[in-house]
């Protein structure tokens, strides 16, 4: 714990040390990493803490057991995702799951929050599940411009993003559902959006919250725009045959990996430590 705190302090003080450590661990040096991330200047919307707590969103203010246990796991996820994206020079990662309600949006949001805590890059989270938008709902906010409006060509890319008071994190999403999500995704506006992000913040990580694989064709429309896909499986919820079918659908795309949500597994992190999720975590210091 003390060591972790020290590492964190070190990272904050000197990004170069962190980069050196990364290069030691076999990562390719990326030019974008050398430049500090640009400051994001979007409209700011403050999230609702109670809603976040209720919806298991690990915003910095949520403290206690949930944050602690979850933060450890998300830190792990973050580290691995970062590793994969950097080593493969991916900038866009799509998140999806076989069915609905398997924690895909929560995972995307928490992963984005966790990634944003790293000081090396900006993180953009775009909620593309327009038939069932939930990112904003989980944060308890109404965005100034819904993403549907952007896809409908009513607003410009810079208008659709907003920040929530967390450094290096920008979001895009909506609260109104539309039955034409597939058509909207296919309109070509998505490329525009992604290009805008690249132009505004080179080297930023873009997370796309995509609809479930098996529910609609939205995923098939949007996935080619992403460099890789992360499949979220919920233990005790996702059916085994659903996983198999989702894997078939995903076979044409780059699969970044599979992650287990609602896991009852115990996992070993890079340092050989074993985490038991039933235990009270000790790393509450990371919450902030």
């Amino acid at each position: 714990m003390i060591i972790e705190q020290a590492i964190e302090r070190m990272r904050r003080q000197s990004p170069n040390t962190q980069r050196a450590a990364l290069s030691v661990s076999g990562m390719r040096r990326d030019d974008t990493l050398t430049a500090p991330p640009v400051e994001l200047k979007f409209a700011r919307v403050d999230y609702d803490l109670d809603t976040c707590e209720r919806c298991h969103i690990l915003v910095p203010e949520t403290d206690g057991n949930e944050t602690a246990t979850g933060a450890t796991a998300y830190r792990m996820l973050r580290t691995r995702v970062l590793h994969l994206m950097r080593s493969n020079r991916w900038s866009t990662l799509a998140l999806t799951s076989p069915g609905a309600g398997e924690g895909k949006s929560v995972t995307a949001l928490n992963l984005a929050l966790s990634l944003a805590r790293e000081q090396n890059q900006n993180v953009f989270l775009i909620d593309l599940d327009m038939s069932n938008p939930s990112v904003c709902a989980y944060l308890g906010i109404a965005p100034p411009r819904g993403i549907v409006h952007f896809f409908a060509g009513q607003v410009e890319p810079q208008q659709v993003f907003f920040t929530i008071g967390i450094e290096r994190l920008a979001l895009a999403g909506g609260i109104e559902a539309t039955p034409y999500s597939s058509e909207l995704l296919a309109s070509g506006r998505l490329e525009l959006l992604l290009k805008y992000v690249q132009s505004v913040s080179p080297g930023a990580l873009i997370l796309l919250d995509l609809p479930p694989v098996l529910a609609t064709d939205d995923f098939l429309v949007a996935a080619p725009r992403a460099d890789a896909t992360l499949l979220v499986i919920a233990e005790g919820l996702t059916r085994r045959d659903g996983v198999v079918r989702a894997m078939e659908v995903l076979s044409g795309f780059t699969l970044a990996g599979v992650m287990l949500n609602r896991s009852r597994e115990r996992v070993t992190d890079y340092y050989g430590r074993r985490y038991y999720y039933t235990k009270r975590s000790t790393s509450a210091a990371h919450a902030r």
Binding site: E53, R54, C55, H56, L58, G64, N65, E66, T69, G70, A73, Y74, M76, L77, R80, V81, L84, G103, V106, T107, N110, L230, L231, I233, A234, E235, G236, L237, T238, R239, R240, D241, V243, V244, M247, L255, A256, G257, V258, M259, L260, N261, R262, S263, R264, E265, V267, T268, G272, R273, R274, Y277
Partner: protein, 502 residues
Amino acid sequence: MDSDSSDPSLASRLEILRRRWQYPAIITPACILLAIFVAYVMTPLYRSSGTIMLEPSSVPKEFLGLDTTTYADHQFELVQRRVMTPENLRQLVAKIDPYPDRPDLTPTEKARMIADNTEIERVDPITLETLQQSNAFSIHYLNPNPERAKAVANELVALFLDYNARTRRERAAGTYHFLQSEAQKLAESIRGMEAKLAEFKAKYGDALPQAQARNLQAQDMAQRDYDSTMAQVRLAEQRVSMLQLQLNDLSPTLVGAVADRRTELATLRAELAAAEQRYTQDHPDVRRLRRAIAELAAQDQATRAPAAKPDNPEYLRVSAELDAAKRDLNALRAHANRALQQVQDYSRRLASTPTVEKEYAQLARNYELAQESFREVQAKLTEADLARSLVAEEQGERFTLIRDPGTPSSPAVPNRLGIILLGFVLGTALGFGAAMFAELSDPTVRGASDLQLLTGHTMIAAVPALLNSSERRSRRLRFACVVGAFSAAIIAVGAAVLSASS
């Protein structure tokens, strides 16, 4: 630190248990509590047991004969059936009512209940453990009331002991009487055989094989006697014929004419014969001679016919001698006949000896057999008499009470420990079985290994189910509810146990 179990199946089982611990955690204690409840709420039955041993006789077995040592091995069942008769048990019910709280039952039904609640088993006389082959047995009786259990068990034990004493006496006496009548019958039959044998001997005594040598000798002697007698007979016959000739030549009377005439007659006959050769039949000489012979013969006839009284002394002497010789001859002939008869008699006896011998041997054998069995029966009779007196003096084998039916302190049924143990085992099995079933029937993804199997990718990270404060609260509440329910159940069961055991 990284101490992954080497056994993957054990590891996966532990994994399942880790996921499904709620099933055994709830089902197992519930089953145990239920078992405890059942164990204490069931009507307790008390078992009172008495043990009876077949005490071996103080007298060596050889003196007792066969039928006094058979209880332990063969008659156990028989005794049980004879003692546990509905009649006996009805009497018992009349004496002690074992189920006073069941006035709806008739004495016969109660008797049947006693029989149902009684168990008899062979036991080791020292350890009292159940044994297949033993000379002791225990009588167990179950009753809801320990005092009544003891009373009834005592009565049952008494029935067994009483039955034993009575039947042993009866059996000993019965054996003796049977043997006695048997001996009498045998004696009678032997007497009959003796009479038969004597009769046979009297009838065929001279033809018996023992008499054969004697018979042969006698036959020989008789034969010789006969032979010599026959020689004498022949001599006597010669003498008689000689005397007869002599007598013929003599004239009974002293008158000489007779002799002359005879001489003349003979001469004439000779002349006639000569003349007949020389002459024909009608020759006067022949005729003359024939006439003269006829005359002379007629004269001789005339003189001899009256023959009034022979007076010739010579003639008289010869005649007397002849008579004597004839008498001798007759006597000898009779003797020879007798001798011949004797010979025949003996040879007949000798011929019949084999037949008689066979018949006799059979008779003798029967007699010997009868005698032998009589001797045996007599010996047994002596033994039976001894056994009878042993039983009368309580020296033979007998039932001995080696454990008095006592008042049971704790109920035998239900076997509380057993039921609780059963509940434990069953509950454990059920709990883990349910966990296993839930695991197997779950169609959802479980665990990293499952995920890898399905996707072919290693899981990059696992995130636990996150709980917000209200979820934590409700979870705590659920846990508290379960704990509370268990506590309540424990208290309820404890109360039931206390009330049942008091």
